[in-house]
Symmetry: D2
Subunit: 106 residues, 4 copies
């Protein structure tokens, strides 16, 4: 497990496409996060107290991490599990560990 | 230094209002982050590979942390330093440590 | 994936015992970390500069995370992959996600 | 605030030496952490379940972070506040922000 960063676009596809319901759930969370980012823009414009802005940024980070972990769980249940079944789990697990490390440092 | 969370709205003000240039810099970064959040919504809609989405989420988290640290630096240079000069640094430093902890866990 | 903490002792066993070589590698890293922890005790006794101590603590944390990620990789390659092969991957993956979250917040 | 790492040994001193009581408190916590690191060595030797080891590593990381934050608080209350009083707060605050970033990523 080396430390080089993962590429922005791997060219890969999910083994099993997301259902409409899965997409909607993730999209709703991301729209809420987008709204929170606009909210802190407003706080900056209104010259709100720095610590209050930082509390909001922490909340957004936590929300993004939550989305990330739920994507990671789905990925492991589908893509990684599928690769393991097909006997080439090692590469998929190596990639999972890398993204996990990159993610947990961010 | 106890562990209770900071309130979302302290009712406090920055000791020295942000200059127009400071606001613009932070706002530009936040608008870029808002665009990145919309970008991952598009990735979900297009059913892009989970790991690619996670790489993007890590990038947004890192960008938000960067904004947060620059706000924290300004806050320390102005509000905290001002409180220290006025002899009531302890409360400001306690608040700074709390937000730092909350932030570093997010 | 709920947020309750994992127990300290699950009573479970690794699916495949660690080889002597694997044990030695991990133990060597942990002994080095133990030495680093003693090193910062000495720094405190000698009244060394706080920021220097903090730089050392960051180094220990990074070293512990590295050990953790290598254990997690082995765990996924053996225990999780084995559970997936046996058709009960879901529980193992749920546990993996929980420990990853707990770990990435620490 | 650039991103270069802080040196391992700055050659600086705490503005106000730690009291014996302060030293003892930090040392007790560090000795407990040293014991926890030995504890996970034993877990590896006994081939304990990976996830159980990871839960312990997370606990050590959290304990080290706690020590780190308490050192950072003391540092800000003494060294940084002192620098601010003497009119050269900027350098001390820059250093504080750097160590905080390094620390929060670890």
């Amino acid at each position: 497990m080396d430390e080089e960063l993962l590429p922005e676009n791997s060219g890969k596809q999910p083994v099993q496409p997301r259902t409409d319901q899965e997409k909607e759930q993730v999209l709703n969370r991301l729209k809420r996060i987008e709204g929170q980012v606009r909210g802190i823009q407003k706080m900056i414009e209104e010259d709100r107290y720095c610590v209050d802005v930082l509390v909001q940024i922490s909340a957004i980070n936590a929300a993004l991490k939550k989305v990330g972990f739920s994507l990671m769980e789905r990925h492991t249940n589908h893509c990684v599990a599928d690769a393991i079944h097909k006997g080439n789990g090692e590469e998929a697990i190596d990639e999972l560990m890398k993204v996990m490390q990159q993610f947990s440092k961010s």
